[in-house]
Assembly symmetry: C2
Homo-oligomer: 413 residues x 2
Amino acid sequence: MATINEHYLKLQSGYLFPEIARRVTNYCQSHPDAKVIKMGIGDVTRPLPRAIIDAMHAAVEEMSTSHSFRGYGPEQGYPFLRDAIRDNCYRERNIDIESDEIFISDGSKCDSGNLLDVFGTDNTIAVLDPVYPVYVDTNVMVGRTGDAGANGQYEGLVYLPVNAENNFQPALPNGRVDLIYLCYPNNPTGTVATREMLKTWVDYAHKNQSIIFFDAAYEAFVSDPEIPRSIYEVEGAKEVAIELRSFSKNAGFTGVRCAFTVIPKQLMGHTSDGSPQAIHPLWNRRHCTKFNGVSYPVQRGAAASFSPEGRQQIAELITFYMNNARLLREGLKAAGIEVYGGVNAPYVWLKTPDDLSSWDFFDLLLNESQIVGTPGSGFGASGEGYFRLSAFNSLENTEEAIHRIKSRLADSP
Amino acid sequence: MATINEHYLKLQSGYLFPEIARRVTNYCQSHPDAKVIKMGIGDVTRPLPRAIIDAMHAAVEEMSTSHSFRGYGPEQGYPFLRDAIRDNCYRERNIDIESDEIFISDGSKCDSGNLLDVFGTDNTIAVLDPVYPVYVDTNVMVGRTGDAGANGQYEGLVYLPVNAENNFQPALPNGRVDLIYLCYPNNPTGTVATREMLKTWVDYAHKNQSIIFFDAAYEAFVSDPEIPRSIYEVEGAKEVAIELRSFSKNAGFTGVRCAFTVIPKQLMGHTSDGSPQAIHPLWNRRHCTKFNGVSYPVQRGAAASFSPEGRQQIAELITFYMNNARLLREGLKAAGIEVYGGVNAPYVWLKTPDDLSSWDFFDLLLNESQIVGTPGSGFGASGEGYFRLSAFNSLENTEEAIHRIKSRLADSP
């Protein structure tokens, strides 16, 4: 009898985005002329930079002739891309990461789940609350939790609240945790981690022999030079942290698919008898056995993001989105709404006015302003009373959204 | 203390291809003028068909303007590709598979490992011997085996020998097994499964509530109309079988990356208390949580393989490689070597002459003929005394290889 992995049955249905879609569909059916502006999902909207398009065309054309055709590439990624990442993301910031510590993949979402394969099921996990749901769900799937309680939190996970009361600075766990997810610039709150804060976590990890999964998918949106863009800017981080990066949100690769994960060679886990075991060879084995590398034209496109033209064009994209974020922040403030994030991140996190629940504010915003956002409670219990708006939109839509919020929402309810 | 997944430490080092590379490097260093012909790895060599190149260019260009840019696509794949697969791979052969039973992925290797996520760790696994090593290693990684013995076989796995003695027809397991890997046309032996043989397995799976993982990565090489190209050509298979297919070996996608897995909705696993549980929603949840879909230009390229031009160009590729396979078969036979496979599959599996071990024949072939193949023992204990040659090469290299084998190897030892 083939048995299933019963941990999957603990998963709560992914109700957030389907529920949003259901409410939007209902609204549009009863208001067929409404011009709804969608600021919910964190998906980019601007086209790929020309330097990347050109590189992908050239790579596709290479595949059309025998002498330049490429079959299986290295599972870990082509050296031309790993070297470019080493030089541009790390050496340029005086961080000593080697090419063979960089593993190219088709997405940070995939990596954040797959990384769990090489760790024991007995590890205790800490996540921030609110949190990117994939961190939680992938741990449920492998059996590191019990069932979910009434507030949606799973038994056995350590949730670290971040909210206005603690200035979005998570407290260190009371006890010891083994694996810690940190995402900065943060999704969903749009807040950032200072160097001092990251140092606290790195020290905690050293003390407890913990490992930090540092998701830096939004690092390109950091403009403040005092804010680290890589956890490896913090001394001692290479011994305790894995960093996940992506081309999705900076270069516009959400539909093209390329990311990378850094596993420093000095990063150690432990066997149950306490012997240290480097994570690098385990992840390398996993990558080679369960993955076949990223599509060659995609890797060429990603590498082009580091060319002078590519960097310039990506800088323009970031400026474009961050102008939207600024407009959102200013417009919401002018409407009397308390806002966080949106300075070094493409998300604005707002406190719902009049203590509305996240879903009540969702309905209000949809009904009064025809704007779709994401209820904070969908990201975790501590997100209740908050709401996320995304800067990934056209300038026109962003300005129109602000106009509607100011003119319609400031008066109500 | 972050603990590692200690099952990884049971893995034997992937010695096969590194060891081949080591011996080839040594030979080339001492024979710098030797023209070595590599027929080892099963990687395609011909360029992508023009219809696919054109479709990929068009899709890349779509990504360059705001109105046609695409961000996140459906995790399961775009409808245009799922529908094309349904129509061309299944409906055309009178197989009733729906589009939403087809999950697009970046590779069959990835899928074959990832599929294990949704099954319990208590399942008993059967594999053929010799076998594609990924099936074994991914089960070791999740803890479904004990340690490896002296012959390389892992405790707890059920190995089903296939060799000339049983005409490459695996016997049904003595006891009950829960998950069964079948790969036809077979890698590495190049042999095929008749409809009757597959029916035996489907009946076995029904009787034992087992599930078959049917890897059909090489189905495009089947020319015999009596040989099934899909396990779903066998009645009752939809209740007990998952099918894995790939664009790698037919359309030349080993470097482009696209594959798909079919999970029929009526396929049931069971909870530990014996309640049936459909696999489809579990795999859908896994796909949505740990994967973000295949690159859009890649999916357009894959879809173009089903256009009239694409089909014609792929048929030419298959004919080209299968002509190589025929030349290899005939040449080896003329040299007095016993050969299998190579009729409905791009691999020729040969019995080493004079009872040489697989590795001794490897050295002989390299030293006498400057040809690199793959020792059968690298695929499992029952592959000892066999050897794999690949038809994925140029016509020129194939003819030269045959010439060398006939002129140099037929005389020795």
